[in-house]
């Protein structure tokens, strides 16, 4: 049975390989960084299982590992490895292979789609092939393996070349790859430290309570601002709802709960488009597309975010107090 944990082991193997290749090339800091990360990925299930059983030590060691990654990250210089084939070679290969090159690239979304849609019905020997939790992501991992296999067949290149090319891209992305995980961990620490509750307490002290429109605007802007700080609208939503949405807008001013909830969340999404804290959507793509400005993607979507926010707010204002 394929589970999401298998994908994590595969990532661990790839990270350890990247560490080893960097060590061989004499890039010690890169080697240490990817190796520590690879060990955290490989040991992840063990760490979570031990924590659930009440043994905190593995999780504490993992926490120390995270701090080690933080100390190593500034030492990684963005290094763009030279392309492994010349532009001329790539063009010749493109002409020779033509549309066949698109097949493995399209296999990634296609196989993911098939697993997402039909994965639940695939049964081999009386056992479901895909475990239900995270089936789409398990499908994505499987799709990557299938695509790598197809690519190596079509390009008549051995599969280990793929690992080497992948490592080249991974080094180009560098520490930015890590940010989404760290920010997710930060969100957990913020929640446990009561950061959200403290912000809500401050916000309620300065609230315009009498005027429904002012309260609605505070709620909508609060969703944006809090999302920008936390990097995630899901973290902002309960805080703003408990602070303003529920007591003021719904109970005092009679706002429609479904509209307020849905459109309030979408105001938060506009904040997600604006913040480097949402690293997986904003900083990782910038690194992946090799932009020199890490905030290039945010810059490209800022005006869209503003207009979407304005239209959502106006719609919400028109609809929510009916």
């Amino acid at each position: 049975m394929l589970r999401i944990e298998h994908a994590y082991w595969l990532i661990a193997a790839f990270l350890l390989y990247s560490g080893w290749r960097n060590l061989r090339d004499g890039h010690g800091w890169h080697a240490a960084f990817w190796t520590v990360l690879g060990l955290l990925f490989g040991a992840g299930d063990f760490i979570l299982a031990q924590s659930a059983a009440g043994h905190a030590l593995p999780a504490q060691v993992a926490g120390a590992g995270v701090i080690a990654l933080a100390l190593l990250a500034p030492r990684l210089k963005r290094m763009a490895h030279p392309e492994s084939s010349s532009a001329e070679q790539r063009l010749q290969s493109a002409i020779r292979l033509g549309h066949k090159l698109l097949v493995p690239a399209l296999l990634i979304p296609l196989v993911t789609l098939l697993v997402a849609l039909f994965g639940a019905h695939v049964v081999i020997g009386g056992q479901a092939l895909f475990a239900a939790p995270q089936m789409t992501l398990t499908g994505l991992a499987l799709a990557c393996v299938v695509a790598l296999f197809a690519a190596s067949v079509i390009a008549r290149t051995p599969m280990h070349e793929g690992a080497a090319e992948g490592r080249r891209l991974l080094d180009a992305i560098g520490w930015a790859a890590l940010l989404p995980l760290l920010l997710a961990a930060l969100g957990q620490v913020f929640t446990r430290s009561g950061v959200g509750a403290a912000i809500a307490a401050i916000a309620t002290d300065f609230l315009p309570t009498g005027n429904a429109t002012a309260a609605l605007l505070t709620f909508a802007l609060g969703m944006v601002l809090f999302t920008v700080i936390m990097g995630n609208a899901f973290a902002a939503f309960p805080v703003m709802m408990a602070g303003i949405g529920l007591p003021l807008l719904i109970h005092q001013h009679g706002a429609h709960p479904a509209i307020l909830g849905s459109m309030g969340m979408l105001c938060g999404y506009c904040g997600t488009l604006l913040t480097p804290m949402a690293a997986d959507f904003n900083l990782v793509p910038a690194a992946l597309l090799e932009l020199r400005n890490p905030y290039g993607v945010i810059k490209a979507q800022a005006w869209s975010a503003l207009w979407i926010f304005i239209s959502t707010f106006v719609l919400m204002w028109l609809l929510v107090f009916r």
Partner: protein
Amino acid sequence: MNYWPLLGVAVIVIGFALRFNAVPVVVTAALVSGLLAGLSVPDLLALLGNSFVSARMLLLFVLTLPAIGLLEHAGLREHAQRWMARMQSLTLARLLIGYLLLRQLLATVGLTGVAGPAQTVRPLLAPMGEAAAEKILPGFDEADREELRAVAAATDNIGRFFGEDVFIALGAVLLIQGFYSQHGIELSPLAIALWALPTAIAAFAIQSVRIWLYQRRLQRRAAAPRHRQDA
């Protein structure tokens, strides 16, 4: 109420504003908030370690890198560009708006993992967009290329964000429903999801207009008297 953990937020804001390396900034913020909230060092380390490994799915995109790297080595981007250059009727705006629509529709039915920056933008959308832009403006330089790739990534994000909220069985809608149900208000997921439709349509219209304006800017530059000789 203990307000000291808010200093963690201050660490983030200052660290990002001064453009320090983001990794130590985020970890420092977590340590500051946790310690000021009175967590003991062993508890804080365990919390950090547990939450980090619980978020492993966020690194799943690296599994696309070997296949994508191998295909790029074999000329995938060059092929996408050549193919795009041959299709006269497929303009830059049509390509990006078509992608936006597809991404949004897929997200609407819950298929957010099917496309993305690693799966589709880098290997396909960005090189095809570059080729389409070159048809408009032959002297497309490196800075223009970066802007185009950023627009492609932005289009991907906007399509995903403002589609996924319409899907009833996914994070946002269930979170909203769960919050209300904890506070004694029962709503069906469908009632919540439907109110995301107006914004979904507005987001599609706004991003489409912005893509069209971006294309028109390139067309105007192409029509204007040339400043550069290489064009």
